[in-house]
C-alpha cells in the first residue's frame, strides 16, 4: 500500500489509496434496496386503493339504473283470446313464485290460467256459471278473490298455486327429455325441470266457497280483509246497503268439506256518512277496522269498524285534491296500510294513516307524491314484498316506482289501449301488464329499488311514522317490513362518539404533551413518554369491556359525584397552586421535589369533596334524584344550564382576569412582599371562582326563565351505556397517539428558541405558549386530526359501551350506534349482495372516506409544518 502511494506520487494523508468507483456490492445493495422499497411502496399504495376500489365495486350496484325490458312480443291475448268465447276485461292478475304461471281474473268472474312464457292458455274456470258477476275484487297477495253477483249474493274464492315435485317415473315419458329450466304444460299445469333434476309440477288451485246471500239488489262494490277473527267483508249493493260480514270456515269432520259461516249486519249507507255521492271504490284496510268509500271526485269517507261490526264515520278526506281530476285507480300496496291513488290528470300519490301525536287518532295523509302528468292512471299493482308500485296508464305506458324512496325506476310502453291490469312477480323479476289486446311480459332488474342518495341521506317518511325521519333499522320479523337504511344516524353516532371522546381526550393529551416537553426534566420525560405510548397497545376490546362492565355501572351509580369532580378537581388544583406560591421562597426550593405529591393531594381532596357534597348537591340541584331530573319529571332546567355554562363562564372570567386582573397585581408589585402578593392573588382567584359561579347561575337563570330547558337536547334520560362513558373510554384510546405526535411536534421546536425566550426573561409557561406552541401548532393540529381519525374508526369500545341504538340525540347520557359498530354487528348476518349487505359496504366506504380525509388533512398540515419548521 505504502509503496502504492509512493508510486502514484500524489499526496496522501493516510498513505493509502482508495478506489473512487463504488464497489460492485455497494451498487448491488443500493439497487436492490431501491427496487425493494419502490416495490413495497407501490404495493401498499395499490393495496389501499384496492380496498377502496373493492368497496366501491360492491356499493355501485346500489345506484345502477333499473332494467325494464319487454321479453316477448305478445304473451297472451286478453280480449277475444280464447278460442270459444270472448272474455271481458281483465281486472287482476298474479304470478306464481317461479314466474311460470299467471292467473287472471276478469270482470265476469272468469279465471284464466296461462303459461307466462309463450302465453299458452292452460285452464279456464267460471266460478259460478249462469249468474252474472257485478263486483270483483282480488284482495291482497294471498290470492283471495271476492265476487259479488247480480242476485245479491257474494262468493269467496281462494286461488293458489299447488306445487309438487316428482321424479321422471311419476310423470308421462314426454317430460323425460326436459332439460333444466325448460317447461312444458301438463294437465292444466306446468312441468319444469329444476336444477336438482326433479320435475316440478305447478298447478293452479281454485277453491270456491258456497255463495253467501246478502241482499236482493246487485252487489256493486266489495272488499275483504283477512283478520285474526276471520275474513271481514264489506259489500255495497245498488240500493245503498252496506253489508258487513265476518266469514269463518269450518271443516266438516265427516266429509272434509269446508263450510263458511257468516255473521254481520246490514247498514244503510246514508246513515253512515255525510256525503251523498256514489261510491266508485270501496277498500278495507289490513286490520279490517277502517272502510274507505271513495267517490269519483276523490271525496272519501273513512268509516271506523269496531269489533262488533258497528260503523262510524271518523273523517272525510279528498284523495284527489285537484278539482278537475277524477279518481281512476285506488289500491293498497303491500301490507294493506298504504293506499296508492291515481287520477285522470296523472297524479299518483300514496297515503297512509299518520298519528300526529302518539295518543291522537290516525289520520289519512298524502305522504308520497310520486308523479304528475303522465296521463290517466288506469291500473295499479304492487309487489307483495316491497314498496314497488307499478302504474299503468291509458296511453299504454307503464311506470315503475319505489314508494318510500320516491325513486322512479323505469317505464315501458305497450302502445295500444289503456292498461287494465298489471302484476309484479313475487321475486320481483317479472312484470306483466295487460291492455285489452295483449298481456306483455317484462324482465325487471331492480335489485335495490329502495336505495337512492336521498333515501340514504335525507329524512324519509316511512309507513306509520308521524313524519319524515332519519332511521336505521335493517331487519325485522315481518315480511311487509320496510328496511330503513339511512346512513345519517350512523354518521351522527360516529361524530357523537368522536366529539365526546375528543372533548375528553384532546385537552388531556395536548396538555400532557406540553407538560412533558416543556416542564419535565429530560430524564423523567424519556421515561414517561414510552409509558404513555404503551397505553396505545392496550387492546381496545379490553378498554371497551372495562367501560361497559365496570365504568358504565359505576358512573351510573355516582353520576352526581362524577359531574362534581369535573369541576371540583380543577378548583382544588388551582387552589393548591395558589397556596403553594404563598410558601416562603426558601421552603419552596426545598419542597420542589414534592410538588407532584402536592398535585396528587389536591386531586384527591377535590374527589373527596365532590363525594362528600354529592348528596346535598343532588338535593339542591337535581331535586333529590338526578335520574328523575334528567327524565324531566322533576326540578327545573336551571341546574342543567348551570353545569353546561360553568366551563364557558370560567373561561370568560379567566380571560377577563388576564386582561384586567394582572394589571391590578402588577400595580401592587414593588413594595409588597411575597406572601402579601400571594394573598392578593389568592383573593383574586377566590373572587374569580365566585364570579364564575354567579355568572353561570345568572346565565342559567336567564335561560331557564325564558323557557329553555337543556333537558331534551344536551342532557336527557339517562341510559347506562352512553356517550359520557364512551367519551371516557375512547378518550383513553386516543390519548396515546395524540400525545405521542404532539410531544414530537413540541420537541421538534429547536431548543435555541426556548433559550432565547428564557434568556429574555420569559417564564417557562410564557415560553411554552408564545414560542414553542405556535411553530408546533400544525403538528398539534395534525395530532388532533390523527386522533380524530382513530376515534372515527374505533370499533370495539363503541360496540361494547355505546349501547348501539341508532338514535340521533345530542344527549350525552344516551347511547348511539357508529358506522364501525354497525358494521361489526350487522355485516356477519347480512345476506350477500342484498341491499342490506351493499348498504353496509356503503357505510364502510363512508367510514373509509372519513378516516382517509382526516388523515390526509393531518398529513398535508404535517408536511406544511415540516417545511416551515426547517426554517427555524
Amino acid at each position: 500500500m505504502n509503496r502504492n502511494a509512493q508510486q502514484s506520487g500524489t499526496g496522501s494523508f493516510t498513505g493509502q489509496r482508495f478506489s473512487r468507483k463504488p464497489r460492485k456490492s455497494v451498487l448491488f445493495t443500493d439497487t436492490l434496496a431501491r427496487r425493494l422499497i419502490t416495490a413495497s411502496g407501490i404495493g401498499s399504495i395499490i393495496a389501499v386503493s384496492l380496498v377502496g376500489l373493492f368497496l366501491v365495486w360492491v356499493v355501485l350496484p346500489l345506484f345502477t339504473p333499473t332494467g325494464l325490458e319487454e321479453v316477448s312480443e305478445s304473451v297472451q291475448s286478453t280480449g277475444a283470446a280464447s278460442a270459444d268465447s270472448a272474455v271481458p276485461s281483465m281486472v287482476h292478475q298474479a304470478m306464481d313464485d317461479y314466474g311460470s304461471l299467471v292467473w287472471s281474473l276478469h270482470a265476469d268472474g272468469t279465471i284464466l290460467v296461462h303459461e307466462v312464457d309463450g302465453g299458452k292458455l292452460l285452464a279456464r274456470r267460471i266460478v259460478r256459471p249462469g249468474v252474472s258477476v257485478t263486483a270483483v275484487k282480488a284482495s291482497g297477495h294471498q290470492g283471495r278473490v271476492l265476487l259479488g253477483y247480480a242476485d245479491g249474493t257474494m262468493q269467496t274464492v281462494k286461488v293458489g298455486f299447488d306445487v309438487s315435485y316428482h321424479n321422471d317415473s311419476d310423470l308421462p315419458d314426454t317430460f323425460a327429455s326436459l332439460s333444466v329450466g325448460e317447461r312444458a304444460s301438463h294437465e292444466q299445469g306446468l312441468v319444469e325441470r329444476t336444477p336438482e333434476h326433479q320435475l316440478r309440477l305447478s298447478r293452479l288451485t281454485i277453491q270456491a266457497d258456497e255463495p253467501v246471500s246478502l241482499g236482493t239488489d246487485p252487489i256493486v262494490l266489495i272488499d275483504g280483509s283477512e283478520t285474526s277473527g276471520g275474513l271481514v267483508v264489506a259489500a255495497l249493493d245498488a240500493a245503498g246497503v252496506l253489508f258487513d260480514r265476518q266469514l269463518r270456515w269450518r271443516k266438516n269432520l265427516l266429509t272434509g268439506e269446508l263450510r263458511v259461516r257468516s255473521t254481520g249486519s246490514d247498514l244503510r249507507l246514508e246513515d253512515l256518512r255525510a256525503s251523498r255521492g256514489t261510491p266508485v271504490a270501496l277498500v278495507l284496510n289490513d286490520a279490517g277496522d277502517r272502510l274507505l268509500l271513495a267517490e269519483i271526485d276523490g271525496t272519501t269517507s273513512v268509516l271506523r269498524r269496531d269489533g262488533e261490526g258497528e260503523y262510524a264515520a271518523v273523517a272525510a278526506v279528498d284523495l284527489v285534491p285537484d278539482p278537475n281530476a277524477k279518481l281512476t285507480a285506488l289500491a293498497f300496496i303491500a301490507g294493506r296500510v298504504s293506499l296508492a291513488v291515481g287520477d285522470d290528470q296523472g297524479g299518483l300519490s300514496v297515503w297512509f294513516p299518520v298519528r300526529e301525536t302518539p295518543t291522537s287518532q290516525p289520520r289519512l295523509q298524502r305522504v308520497h307524491e310520486l308523479d304528475e302528468h303522465h296521463g290517466v292512471v288506469t291500473a295499479l299493482a304492487s309487489s307483495g314484498r316491497s314498496r314497488l308500485l307499478l302504474a299503468g296508464y291509458r296511453d299504454g305506458k307503464i311506470r315503475l316506482y319505489h314508494v318510500t324512496s320516491h325513486r322512479f325506476l323505469g317505464e315501458a310502453d305497450l302502445e295500444q289501449g289503456p292498461i287494465v291490469a298489471a302484476a309484479i312477480s313475487p321475486r320481483e323479476d317479472l312484470i306483466l301488464a295487460a291492455n285489452r289486446e295483449r298481456n306483455a311480459l317484462f324482465h325487471l332488474d331492480a335489485p335495490h329499488p329502495d336505495i337512492s342518495f336521498s333515501a340514504l341521506l335525507r329524512p324519509v317518511w316511512y309507513e306509520g311514522y308521524p313524519g319524515p325521519v332519519y332511521a336505521w333499522q335493517s331487519s325485522a320479523a315481518t315480511d311487509t317490513f320496510e328496511p330503513k337504511l339511512s346512513l345519517v344516524p350512523l354518521i351522527y353516532g360516529t361524530l357523537k362518539a368522536t366529539f365526546y371522546s375528543m372533548l375528553f381526550g384532546l385537552p388531556l393529551a395536548l396538555l400532557a404533551a406540553l407538560y412533558t416537553s416543556e416542564f419535565l426534566h429530560r430524564r423523567t420525560r424519556s421515561r414517561i413518554k414510552p409509558v404513555i405510548e404503551t397505553m396505545a397497545s392496550l387492546p381496545s376490546v379490553v378498554l371497551g369491556f372495562l367501560a361497559a362492565l365496570v365504568m358504565a355501572p359505576f358512573v351510573e351509580r355516582v353520576l352526581v359525584q362524577v359531574l362534581a369532580v369535573l369541576f371540583c378537581a380543577p378548583f382544588f388544583l388551582l387552589l393548591g397552586a395558589h397556596l403553594w406560591q404563598m410558601l416562603p421562597r426558601r421552603s419552596l426550593t426545598r419542597l420542589e421535589p414534592w410538588r407532584p405529591l402536592a398535585v396528587l393531594i389536591a386531586l384527591v381532596a377535590g374527589m373527596w369533596c365532590s363525594w362528600q357534597w354529592a348528596g346535598p348537591l343532588e338535593q339542591i340541584g337535581f331535586a333529590g334524584d338526578v335520574k328523575l331530573w334528567l327524565d324531566g319529571q322533576i326540578g327545573s332546567g336551571i341546574t342543567g344550564w348551570f353545569v353546561l355554562l360553568l366551563a364557558p363562564a370560567a373561561l370568560l372570567v379567566g380571560w377577563w382576569n388576564t386582561i384586567q386582573g394582572e394589571v391590578l397585581i402588577r400595580g401592587r408589585g414593588p413594595g409588597w412582599i411575597r406572601w402579601q402578593l400571594g394573598m392578593l392573588d389568592l383573593g383574586r382567584f377566590l373572587a374569580s371562582t365566585a364570579a364564575t359561579i354567579v355568572l353561570a347561575l345568572f346565565a342559567a337563570w336567564m335561560l331557564s326563565s325564558s323557557g329553555w330547558d337543556p333537558r331534551g337536547s344536551m342532557m336527557d334520560t339517562y341510559v347506562q351505556r352512553n356517550a359520557l362513558v364512551v367519551g371516557f373510554a375512547m378518550g383513553f384510546a386516543v390519548i396515546p397517539i395524540i400525545y405521542s405526535i404532539a410531544e414530537d411536534a413540541l420537541s421538534a421546536v429547536p431548543d435555541h428558541l426556548r433559550a432565547a425566550s428564557l434568556g429574555a426573561g420569559a417564564t417557562p409557561w410564557q415560553t411554552a405558549f408564545k414560542v414553542v406552541v405556535p411553530p408546533a401548532m400544525s403538528g398539534l393540529f395534525s395530532a388532533g386530526m390523527i386522533g380524530l381519525g382513530r376515534a372515527v374508526g374505533e370499533t370495539m369500545i363503541v360496540l361494547m359501551a355505546a349501547g348501539n341504538t341508532p338514535i340521533m340525540e345530542m344527549n350525552i347520557f344516551n347511547g348511539f350506534r357508529t358506522l364501525s359498530a354497525n358494521l361489526a354487528v350487522e355485516l356477519p348476518e347480512a345476506v350477500q349482495n342484498s341491499t342490506h349487505y351493499r348498504t353496509l359496504f356503503l357505510a364502510a366506504l363512508t367510514l373509509f372516506i372519513m378516516t382517509f380525509l382526516l388523515n390526509t388533512i393531518a398529513e398535508v398540515v404535517r408536511q406544511h409544518f415540516r417545511r416551515k419548521s426547517s426554517q427555524l
Partner: protein, 290 residues
Amino acid sequence: MTANEAKETQMAETKTMDRLASIAAGEIVETRIHPELAEEESILDISDFNLWYGEKQALFDVSMTLPRGKVTALIGPSGCGKSTLLRSVNRMNDLIDTVRIDGSMNLGEGNIYGPGVDVIELRRRMGMVFQKSNPFPMSIFDNVTYPLQINGERNKSVLRDVCEKALRGAALWDEVSDRLQESALGMSGGQQQRLCIARAIAAEPEVLLMDEPCSALDPIATTRVEELILSLRGEYTVLIVTHNMQQASRVSDYTAFMYLGQVLEYGPTARMFTNPLLQETEDYITGRFG
C-alpha cells in the same frame, strides 16, 4: 532576531508550555488581575465560582468583577469555558439538568445563586445574544418587543417606540422599517443576528451578555455590531465572548483570558494586548497557541 533573543523566547516558550501543562494536569492558578480594575465600580462580583457538568468540572475557582458601564471581553481557546461562564451569569445553565455549581455571583447586592432569587426577574435584568441567531418565528416587531410583551406591556405606542429605538440601536432600522410586520425568518443571517441584539437591548437590561455575536456575520455587519457595542458603552455593561482578537481590542475596555476553565489574566484591553503580565496571554493573543 538575534540568537540570544531567540533563545530567550524559546526558554519563555518552554516555561509557558510547562505552566499550561500543569494547568492541564489540574493545578489551580491564581488569576492575575490588573490593578486598574480595582478602581472601577463593579456591577457583578464573581467569587470562587466552580461549575460542573455532571462529573466534569468546566469552571475552576473563577473570581472576577465586571466594571459597570464598560465592555468586557472573554477570550480563550475553544472549550475553555467562556460560554459556560457567560451562561452562568443569567443562570441559563439551570436549563441543563446535570449542572452543579459552587461559589457565588453577586449582581448589585444580591447573590445570583441565592435561595430566594427570582430567576425570571434576574434574566429580565440581563439581555442575552447567542452565538447562533435565534429569532422567533414571529414578525420583526413582535420579536423586538418580545421582552416587553412578556412583561405585560400592551401599550402599542410604547411598544412601537421601543421597537424603533432598539432597531436603530442595532443598526437595523433602515433596512426593516418598512416590513416590521413580516416574519423575522425572512431576513438574512446577519440581519437576524442584529435583530437578536435589538431584542436583547429592547428591555433596557443592566447587563448585556453576548456570546460570539459576530461569528456568523460578514465584515460589514460585524462593523455595524461593533459600532453598536461601542455606542452602548457607558449606558450598559457588556460581557462579550469573542474569538476575534481584533474585535476584542476594538470594542472592549477590559479583557479576561481564560484557559481550561480558569481565568488566567484579567485587565484593561490595551494592557492585555500590548503588555500582558503573563507570557501565556501574549502567546495566545499573538496566535502562538490556541
